[in-house]
């Protein structure tokens, strides 16, 4: 084995420089030139305030906003996580039943499955079109807007399948909420243009 030590050490050093430094650094500089937004996390800024990433869910509780799927990690990006509870877990079944009841109280309809189950990442930026549409009435009331106009905006935000075959139709919660704020600002009564903080 000793005769193999020189090539082992030399090639380890070579591959560390090539695949561990040159490759990721070259990819960084190319990606920064070609797709700077995407390569830096698809951040959304309002002025100099970063309000989030278009790809990452954040929590919404105010009635005037679309609500994301439940998150087992409270939308904490730095410590993401899922419930990881199994299909026969009594804890999971109880949690889902509780969310289902809360959803009905809030929106007046039966909840679609994605609205009561937590995603794998805890950061799922999307909800199903059914989930989004069912929230339109509540949003319209909170914003004092025409329910049909809210429903139309939500409908136009639906992203379809890829190649008509892959993935599921979905609505990006943060981007749609930004569009809602732009088209249907909250009544000036609350003074801030944003809901209760």
């Amino acid at each position: 084995m000793l005769t193999q030590m020189r090539p082992a050490l030399t090639l380890t050093l070579f591959f560390t420089l090539l695949t561990g430094l040159a490759y990721p650094l070259a990819m960084t500089s190319v990606a920064q030139k070609l797709f700077p937004d995407a390569a830096n996390g698809s951040l959304i800024a309002q002025g100099d305030r970063v309000i989030g990433s278009a790809l990452v869910a954040q929590g919404f509780a105010a009635p005037g906003y679309l609500h994301p799927r439940p998150s087992a990690s409270g939308w904490n990006e730095a410590g993401t996580g899922a419930s990881n509870l199994g299909p026969t877990s009594a804890l999971l079944i109880a949690a889902v039943a509780e969310r289902r009841a809360a959803w009905r109280a809030e929106n007046g309809t039966d909840a679609p499955i994605d609205a009561v189950t937590a995603s794998g990442s805890g950061l799922d930026p999307h909800i199903s079109p059914e989930n989004a549409a069912a929230q339109a009435g509540r949003i319209a009331t909170a914003r004092g807007a025409d329910p049909a106009a809210i429903a139309a905006l939500i409908d136009s935000a639906v992203a379809g399948r890829s190649l008509w075959l892959y993935g599921e139709p979905s609505v990006n919660v943060l981007l749609t909420n930004l569009a809602l704020d732009a088209s249907f600002p909250f009544a000036p009564a609350d003074g801030k243009g944003t809901p209760t903080e």
Binding site: M1, R6, P7, A8, T10, L11, T12, T16, L18, T19, G20, Y23, P24, M27, T28, A31, L34, G41, S42, V50, S53, A54, V56, A57, Q58, G59, Y65, W75, E77, A78, G79, T80, A82, S83, N84, G86, P87, T88, S89, L92, V96, I113, V116, T117, A118, S119, G120, S121, G122, D124, P125, S128, A159, S162, L165, Y166, G167, S170, L178, D181
Partner: protein
């Protein structure tokens, strides 16, 4: 629609793998235009590229290279707090966790007992893990090529030069593919930046820390090299690792690309492409059978949670189809990355994933590792066929004798040793049992999954199970070593023994190894040996859980 989606995916996969196999055959035979670079590098490392090795020399070179890789990675992980490229100020890893992580990446397992964004600096991700992503994959590919030579090359005593095979795997196969995939992923939204985490203040005013990093480059090789260790803790479910349906499809193809190409490469090197297609067919039949089970269960959903697909632990944009395809691919191919949480899959979906890992990751399997693992079953299958027809078994014109069968059985034993013995201890020692999250049979499945994943060098987990305690970081570290080298060394020995034999001409009495009969026999051998060894423990885990679930029970 579902059928069309899968058919199109498999068509694209097979087409790409056929093209890649043609390229790989040229690379491993030596491309004159690239020989200058190879010679310069290898001479600098003190290697005579023209000198081939007998199997013990080849095995020693593998072990020496992996030992050095382990020491370097361990040192980086321990010392990352004091090293550069650490914008989030992350401290050094604890000794047991660093041991577990270093073993995990050197053995191409990529079991993650840590969470990347919280416990790794950018230097560790790049110069530590990404390097091993490349070279552990390159090691598996080199070993596979050497084993194929043992079966297919002309009579001799040597099976190739490890350093040459390694350099060729990394420079001309893994690196070009990774560059393409990394740029595609960065375009889709996977971060590739050296800037640290950013704190956002959300629309409702809550603060959110958004971790970033040079992820695209790492994720590209993590998929192509069947590594699977994510940049972020939740792996490819994280919207930054896998932001779009397109990024998901590209990664799904990348997981199986090189393993499938190895089947076709085998046919090319054997001088009879039907031999490669037969091995591909055996793997594909088992893969599709498992995939159908997972898809049906996940799409039907969990009535206890409500109508619709089983969406707990899954991302909305991927849904049942892309999550099932990924779950089947990642467990079959020894990749171990996840785009949905396996712990929350239906019981029999979990059963399929367990079986894929327990039979030794031979359904496509790890890059290279899947093929040499399947050749182990081929040796046993022709031996069984020989017993049935009363002739000395032969494969590709060479006699398979007692020595090869003994070595194959020896290699196979590492699976029950790691899974059954390791798992049994973990299920009895109180300190180890504390890792279990779920009550009832699902909790047992969590243990079984962890030990199957480590032994098969897969790396995926039932994530609720606590992998971080000292007991499991140590035990699983040792078992990952067993699952890797207790198969590599005997397989190289088989190759070294086969290549010394004369290739006999084909006669009317030769059992053909490229037809449907052999494919069936190979599948049966895998299922009888692999699956039956583990049926009793599967009955205690996923099967018990499914029967309880059907009776409306919860735990």
């Amino acid at each position: 629609m579902t059928f069309l989606a899968y058919a199109l995916y498999f068509g694209a996969l097979i087409g790409a793998a056929l093209m890649l196999a043609a390229w790989m055959a040229r690379v491993y035979a030596g491309i004159p235009a690239l020989a200058g670079v190879e010679r310069l590098l290898l001479r600098g490392a003190g290697v005579n590229p023209g000198r081939d090795m007998a199997w013990p020399g080849y095995a020693l070179a593998v072990l020496a290279f992996n030992l050095v890789g382990f020491i370097v990675l361990y040192a980086i992980l321990r010392g990352q707090g004091a090293l550069p490229l650490n914008p989030d100020g992350i401290g050094g890893m604890a000794p047991d966790l660093a041991f577990n992580t270093a073993v995990s990446f050197v053995t191409n397992t990529n079991w993650q007992a840590y969470s990347g964004e919280a416990q790794l600096s950018y230097l560790s991700q790049m110069a530590g893990l990404t390097v091993q992503n490349f070279v552990s994959a390159g090691t598996g590919m080199a070993v596979a090529v050497a084993v194929i030579r043992g079966f297919t090359a002309a009579k001799g005593t040597t099976i190739g030069n490890f350093w040459v095979d390694l350099v060729r795997s990394v420079l001309w196969i893994l690196l070009p593919l990774s560059i393409l995939l990394a740029l595609f992923l960065a375009w889709q939204g996977v971060p590739q930046t050296l800037l640290g985490a950013v704190t956002a203040s959300g629309l409702e005013g809550t603060e959110q820390v958004i971790a970033r990093g040079p992820a695209a480059a790492q994720i590209a090789i993590k998929q192509l090299g069947t590594n699977g260790g994510g940049f972020f803790g939740v792996n490819s479910a994280h919207p930054f690792e896998n932001p779009t349906i397109a990024s998901n499809l590209a990664q799904s193809l990348a997981i199986l690309l090189i393993p499938v190409a190895f089947c076709f490469l085998f046919g090319r090197m054997a001088g009879d492409r039907r031999e490669g297609r037969a091995i591909f067919a055996a793997m594909a039949v088992m893969f599709v059978a498992g995939l159908v089970v997972i898809h049906l269960y996940e799409a039907a959903g969990n009535p206890a949670l409500g109508l619709g697909a089983n969406m707990e632990g899954k991302e909305q944009r991927f849904g049942a189809l892309l999550s099932s395809l990924w779950a089947a691919s990642t467990t079959a191919a020894s990749n171990g990355s996840v785009n949905a949480m396996h712990d929350s899959f239906m019981p029999l979906s979990g059963l399929v994933m367990l079986v894929f890992m327990q039979i030794g990751e031979v359904i496509f399997g790890g890059v290279g590792a899947g093929l040499y693992g399947m050749l182990l079953y081929v040796v046993l299958a022709v031996f069984l066929a020989g017993l049935m027809v009363g002739r000395t078994p032969e494969y590709l014109g060479r006699k398979v004798e007692a020595r090869e069968v003994t070595l194959a059985v020896l290699a196979f034993l590492s699976m029950p040793l790691g899974i059954l013995v390791g798992g049994a201890i973990a299920a009895t020692v109180p300190q180890a049992l504390a890792a279990v999250q779920d009550a009832g049979p699902h909790g047992f499945s969590e243990i079984l999954y962890a030990y199957s994943s480590a032994t098969g060098n897969n790396g995926s987990a039932f994530g609720g199970w606590g992998a971080a305690g000292t007991w499991h970081t140590t035990a699983l570290g040792l078992i990952m070593l067993l699952g890797r080298y207790a198969i590599i060394v005997p397989m190289l020995a088989i190759a070294g023994s086969m290549i010394r034999k004369t290739r006999a001409p084909v006669t009317s009495g030769t059992f053909p190894t490229h037809g449907p009969l052999f494919v069936t026999l190979l599948i049966l051998t895998v299922l009888i040996l692999g699956a039956l060894t583990f049926f009793p423990v599967l009955a205690l885990g996923p099967i018990a859980e499914e029967t309880a679930r059907a009776a409306g029970q919860s735990f």
